[in-house]
């Protein structure tokens, strides 16, 4: 087996709500290979978004480690994580999260401002990203002048413009009508197949999950099932607490 792109090791995440301690992830292990398109599903409170945030380096585990390639992102400083995110993560939000006062072009350009690229190079990257998502003719439009589907495609362009290691998508079709959702899924599929982008997506939508090449289900902070879209499936709790190295086992 190759070294996985992402290695989540014995991850525990606890929150405190007043005096109550809430365990959202409980000793979870997960490997994600380079070039995978993985869908995380599960009921509300199952910990899927928390897992996504930990992989994206926007939250820290209570214990355990998240390795992306050789980087242990769970031990990075706040500023180190910010810098790491800018280089390695493209994030796609459910509600697009475009900056309303910036045009599509300026929104897509934002992550590039953190790179050493000059103005001309940035323009080239932005134009390519917007061309890939089919919005090259909407560069000067503000988010309020775009449909929901177009906004999400601009957000995808923003996520891919730096050519990140990993695309993180949190319910990317959750706010879209069926047609726009389909367009976004086709785009994500294309990014995975054609551009070899590794994608980790949280979704409630089985149709969206069906586009992924691997499906992982979480419940109460543990992995309970994973399906490869070639039909092979494994499920169940190996030790009652966590499922280790699902992708490795299934292969």
């Amino acid at each position: 087996m190759n070294n996985p792109l992402i290695r989540v090791e014995k991850i525990v995440k606890k929150y405190h709500r007043g005096a109550e301690e809430l365990t959202v992830l409980n000793g979870l292990n997960l490997n994600i290979e380079d070039g995978e398109f993985i869908a995380l599903m599960g009921p509300s409170g199952s910990g899927k978004t928390t897992l996504l945030n930990l992989i994206a380096g926007i939250d820290r585990p209570t214990s355990g480690h998240v390795f992306v390639r050789t980087d242990d992102i769970s031990s990075m400083s706040e500023s180190g994580l910010a810098e790491w995110r800018s280089r390695h993560i493209g994030f796609i939000f459910q509600t697009y999260n475009l900056i309303p006062v910036l045009t599509a072009y300026e929104n897509v350009e934002l992550p590039l401002l953190l790179t050493p690229l000059g103005g001309a190079e940035r323009r080239k990257h932005v134009e390519i990203a917007l061309y890939i998502v089919g919005l090259a003719d909407r560069m000067s439009h503000y988010p309020s002048q775009l449909s929901g589907g177009q906004e999400q495609r601009v957000a995808i362009a923003r996520a891919i413009v730096t050519d990140p290691t990993l695309l993180i998508a949190d319910e990317p079709t959750g706010d879209l009508d069926a047609k726009s959702a389909e367009e976004v899924l086709v785009l994500l599929e294309r990014l995975n197949i054609e551009f070899k982008k590794t994608i980790v997506m949280v979704t409630h939508d089985p149709k969206a999950a069906a586009r992924a090449r691997r499906l992982v289900r979480l419940e109460k902070g543990i992995l309970i099932e994973e399906n490869h879209m070639d039909g092979h499936s494994s499920s169940g709790l190996t030790d009652g607490i966590n499922v280790s190295g699902i992708s490795a086992k299934s292969e």
């Binding site: 959202v24 409170g45 910990g47 926007i58 810098e83 995110r85 993560i89 006062v101 910036l102």
Partner: protein, 391 residues
């Protein structure tokens, strides 16, 4: 590279009503601050620009002002013969024994105030280079004639050209109006000194003003007067004498700062409120910027820049309002009491580039105080909480 400033500018434009009200609040604070400070500046300028560095004013020892001073008639020739006094073309010393008397006159706007009547000798006007007769003629000795400064003629009754000033049983004909270029004589009425001594039955002059040949002579005369026990007089540089009176402007300056600081605290809260509302409305945007990789210091700087832009706009508008107020509403001359001489000092509001810069700095300070806490909140909010995506 940080978050582009256009992000902040456009956000300010998008929220134009909130932005406008906050800018207006800061602008009014800056404008009031500038008006009060230009009042103090105008008053201070009267004293700072008065007097020549080569002139010496001779007073009785330990006198704070001419009002408290006395120089006897027999002391005057001793002073006049001191070496180092500049000579006029006729060879006579450029020196003027003078008498200062306070007249309580009626103001045009109502009420009364003390006005300095100065008896000057023949050389008195020559010793004051800013002096310029703008209407009428110079007074003639022995005829109870006076010339009045333009400022006093505009603020006091019966002080116009051709009027008769009455004070007790005294009557003086106003035969001329003069201008002294914003210096202390602009608050005075002048007459001939010996006539004034007779009118007021005084035995001594108040002071002697004299011009020295150079700064070395000036210092020597001051020293000579200080060490001569027979005279019991002291000489001061005329410039230094008037600068001592700038203390009159200090309470106004203090008031300006006091009012300014109190109002600035209010304006800071206004700016803070606006910035808190801004941060609150843009929590998700801020979290998004953090997710994209912008660091906490970048977010902090961005929101401080936004607060500073807000404040700077307020400062610029405040300066504009201040300029308009001083040049339109407050363009005339005004007066207050000189607490050294207890007589009216006439001056104009004076808004200098330095004061305008102070207004801008003042507004920036307001923005900084108002912006730093909301900006910190923006920078230190937990990303996951801000995105509302907990598990």
């Amino acid at each position: 590279m940080g978050i582009p400033v256009k992000y902040n500018i456009r956000n300010l434009i998008v929220r134009k009503i909130t932005t406008g009200l906050t800018v207006l609040g800061i602008a009014l604070v800056v404008a009031v601050f500038l008006c009060v400070m230009s009042l103090a500046e105008g008053l201070a300028r009267v004293f700072k620009s008065s007097g020549s560095v080569r002139n010496i004013i001779v007073l009785r020892q330990n006198s704070q002002s001419e009002v408290q001073s006395g120089v006897t008639r027999d002391q005057v020739p001793l002073i006049m013969t001191l070496p180092g006094i500049e000579r006029d073309t006729d060879g006579s010393p450029l020196a003027s024994p003078e008498l200062v008397v306070g007249l309580n006159l009626e103001k045009i706007e109502g009420g009364t105030s003390n006005v300095t009547l100065r008896g000057i000798s023949e050389k008195g006007s020559l010793l004051r280079p800013q002096f310029r007769l703008i209407e009428g003629r110079m007074f003639s000795p022995g005829l109870s004639e006076v010339i009045v400064s333009s400022g006093i003629s505009k603020r006091f009754k019966n002080c116009g050209l051709g009027d008769i000033i009455r004070f007790g049983s005294y009557l003086w004909n106003v035969v001329g109006i003069f201008d002294a270029g914003g210096t202390a004589p602009d608050s005075e009425i002048w007459t001939e000194v010996d006539g004034a001594l007779n009118d007021f039955k005084r035995l001594a002059y108040s002071s002697v003003l004299l011009r020295t040949t150079d700064s070395v002579a000036r210092d020597q005369i001051i020293k000579a007067l200080a060490i001569d026990p027979r005279l019991a007089l002291e000489g001061k540089s005329e410039r230094a004498y008037y600068e001592e009176q700038t203390s009159t402007a200090e309470p106004i300056k203090f008031l300006g700062f006091f009012i300014g600081v109190i109002m600035a605290i209010g304006a800071s809260f206004g700016a803070m409120n606006t910035m808190y509302a801004t941060v609150s409305a843009r929590t998700q945007e801020i979290a998004t910027l953090r997710v994209l990789g912008f660091s906490r210091p970048a977010i902090l700087a961005s929101f401080i820049v936004e607060a500073l832009c807000l404040a700077l706009l307020g400062g610029l508008l405040g300066c504009l309002l201040g300029i308009l107020a001083v040049n339109l509403a407050l363009s005339g001359i005004t007066g207050t009491t000189n607490f050294t001489t207890f007589s009216e000092v006439v001056f104009a509001f004076r808004l200098t580039p330095k004061l305008l810069l102070m207004g801008i700095v003042f507004s920036i300070f307001t923005g900084l105080i108002g912006g730093i806490l909301p900006a910190s909140q923006a920078a230190f909010t937990k990303i996951t909480l801000a995105l509302r995506q907990v598990g």
